[in-house]
């Protein structure tokens, strides 16, 4: 029996060494590429290697909202302050039970109209449409029967007038130049069908007219840790994947899409929880199957500030939702796996998300259980184990800090010394503790997911201080 356990543990050890070396190599490569890309981009901008004129790519901004009465006004005000010439704002109220629609109607003096809506993508029917043009930018509010976020986005696409649409969350604020910057890849390369922007937590930031006037790390430690996590994950995978057109996620909080392609691909899938990832994978599949030349890009300097959950319960809900979405998208498009037709999307992006995102919580928990087993049968090299864990924590923490500082420097934020200390201290806690809590949450996410798959995840909102 002991021989068997020994043999089993040897196999596990080999697997984990390969797994960790793979992960370490990926993180290392992506942070190196990401960091150097950020600095190169900063230098390019300094030397005016940028598009600075008004290029008028008309964009419809779609804001799906469900019970967002607390934040919706700030969000729309931030959109009105964008430095861009030609855009419209469409808020889709997906059957809210709070005062979301009323807040909008009253604060923006909206009037009811009988607007015929061209139904290019199926969605739940509209109940009322309101419009205003008094703010320089057309604002449309559509109240519709509840159908989920994907359904609300599909309604927004149907209502939109322009060839590109931008989806964002109702609890987010776009930086004043974000629209101008997210449109640039479209002008640089006309084959671009979708562009993802950077998401940064706004807890702690003071935003005035779409500009960050004061940046502090959030007061709540959980939110602080998420700042580090966001920086690492955005820098870690998206810039690297962008190099070979391999991004298979564009955050639902901030993404630009070519409307005609999205409509041709069938729009958002309302049966999945991760409609943002599902759409991007679908676009890869659609474009490759139809032989269309395409690019899906990621831009680092188009920034959307979003609220991250400050309570552990809310964070768990959010991550559970994300994991279910990931699972659904990966399963729905499993034919991508090891399929040469999809090139790097299959062999790099899909495998990365499969091994290091979808399966990682199971692998991590399995690793912990195996460690306990080895400990129980006295087959563990304790000093080595501690050293190994220490290297893992320090290594990941250093990468988090590299990503954090790279992003702070390249978007011209001024960091207070106390915030720098906070980041240094919390990056270790994030890697050594929060990551395992999240691993557990994600591992248990798939239990009972069918019950919740068409509901909006409720997270406690704070009013965004937008001046």
């Amino acid at each position: 029996m002991r021989d068997f356990i020994q043999w089993f543990l040897l196999c596990v050890e080999c697997f984990f060494i390969l797994y960790m070396v793979g992960y370490a190599s990926f993180l290392f490569l992506s942070v190196t590429v990401g960091s150097s890309d950020l600095y190169a981009s900063k230098r390019r901008n300094l030397l005016k290697n940028e598009l600075s004129n008004d290029y008028y790519v008309p964009v419809s901004i779609i804001v799906p909202a469900h019970n967002e009465g607390v934040t919706i006004e700030s969000t729309v005000r931030s959109l009105l302050a964008l430095d861009y010439k030609l855009y419209e704002i469409i808020v889709v109220d997906d059957g809210s039970t709070d005062d979301t629609a009323q807040v909008l109607r009253e604060r923006f003096h909206m009037w009811r109209v009988d607007r015929p809506i061209q139904r290019r993508i199926p969605c739940q029917p509209e109940e009322e449409v309101y419009e205003t043009r008094a703010w320089g930018v057309p604002i449309t509010l559509v109240r519709k029967r509840n159908g989920g976020k994907a359904d609300a986005l599909n309604m927004g696409i149907n209502v939109s007038n322009y060839p590109y649409f931008l989806c964002m969350d109702a609890d987010s604020v776009l930086q004043h130049d974000s629209l101008e910057k997210i449109v640039r890849p479209v002008l640089e390369d006309p084959t671009v069908v979708a562009v993802g922007g950077s998401i940064r937590p706004c807890n702690g930031a003071e935003i005035e007219n779409g500009r960050v006037v004061r940046y502090r790390m959030p007061q709540k430690l959980l939110a602080c840790m998420q700042v580090l996590e966001y920086d690492r994950s955005f820098l870690a995978s998206r810039i690297l994947f962008d190099k070979f057109n391999g991004n298979i996620i564009i955050s639902g909080a901030f993404g630009l899409f070519l409307k005609s392609v999205v409509i041709a691909a069938g729009g958002y899938d309302h049966t999945t929880m991760g409609e943002d990832m599902e759409l991007v994978v679908k676009l890869h599949v659609f474009c490759r199957e139809s032989g269309r030349r395409y690019r899906i890009r990621y831009v680092t300097d188009a920034i959307c500030w979003t609220q991250v959950p400050e309570r552990l319960g809310d964070l768990c809900k959010q991550r559970r939702r994300w994991h279910i979405g990931l699972f659904q998208s990966m399963m729905k498009y499993r034919n991508i796996m090891a399929n040469p037709k999809y090139g790097a999307v299959s062999f790099v992006s899909y495998f990365y998300f499969l091994l290091y995102e979808l399966f990682s919580p199971y692998i991590e928990v399995f690793g912990l259980l195996t460690t306990l087993l080895a400990f129980a049968v006295d087959l563990i090299n304790l000093p080595f184990m501690v050293l190994f864990f220490g290297i893992y924590v320090v290594y990941t923490a250093i990468l988090s800090l590299t990503a954090f500082f790279a992003r702070i420097h390249t978007i011209d934020l001024r960091l207070y010394p106390s915030d720098a200390c906070k980041a240094v201290g919390l990056c270790v806690v994030e890697v050594a503790c929060l990551r395992f809590v999240m691993a557990w949450v994600r591992m248990t996410a798939l239990i009972s997911y069918r019950k919740k798959k068409n509901t909006w995840g409720r997270i406690e909102r704070q009013k965004i201080e937008f001046k």
Partner: protein
Amino acid sequence: MGAEVLLYGYGFVCLSMLGFNLFYGLYLRAGGRRLKRRLDRLRHQAAAQQKNLLEGRPLEESYLSWMRRRLSRVQNLLAFDYLLDELEDGTSIFQAYLHQLQPVFLYLAAIYGRREDTQAAYYCHFLARHQLQRHMQMDQIQQMVAACVHRESFYCRVNALKALCAFGSPQTLVEALSELGRQPEDTQLHEKVVAEALLTYTGDTEELIRQLWQRFDQFPLRLQRAVLDYIRFKSGAYRGQMLQILLDNSQDKELRFSAIRYFGRYPDPAARPALLEFVRDPDILRWEFAAISASSLARYPGQEVVDALMRAMHSPNWYVRFNASASLEAQGVSYEEMLRAVGSDRYAREMLTYRLESRRLEGLEAAQEQLEQQKGVPVGV
């Protein structure tokens, strides 16, 4: 043991990266002070030379050599860019100063023409921004800029194009556009980028358009669209050529759309039958022709046009109905009349109702704005 070595190795490189990050952060933070120091030095020297110019003496040779050396570094050129903003006052002294710096700019063109793309692009931007062609004729500089159009970097090509537009020489610009057109399709500039650059052209517009037409057939589609857009914004004197494109079935549909838009902006009786034919076309696959023509017909008065637009209100395509209703409104047809004409067609009636409500909404909002202005309340608060 192998894995440990690898992890230690990675860890070391990561620590180096972190160190680099911290160092670079401090370096960036000090960037403002460095720029100010450079600017002060350049300003001080320029002030002394301008004094010479005021007293009727030319720029000193030692100053020109110093400027050649200094401005060969891109950071100093950046500071000089700011300095020119400060000095630019339109006086003859400033113009003489720039004029006498001509050998320096020529030298820099040779230097930056050999530099990597980012710096070459910046030099083009610098030339375009200060419109140095106003102060001197510099063929060599134009050649350097035109050579940048061949480069792979997107921004190098865009900045070069903008610089050529700022120089205002139609021949060089059209040559550069032809060169851009010869590049592989996937590296060609977006039509909006080209059209926007052309709109900043400072020379003789009519001469530029004449030369563009001469080469028009040699340009690839994307460039042709940009040229047509530019002409639409600039001149109504090309109806003949536009009509040919409009009527030529073998032309790409995007070019024909541009021609339809042109005749929407510059009405011409010769285009009217073709526009009417498009709007009457029942083929749903050609809805784009119908939709754009419906919009262009807003400025073509007459019962025949009204009848065609009324018929277009029954189109199964949303955009055709939308544009037709807007054009009918622009023609001054009353809503009662329109509603009577469309009869019981639900989709047509819905669209007309929406137009009516939109118009009422605009009226209400205008009235509210007026009221707020009278009360002294800033609009949009």
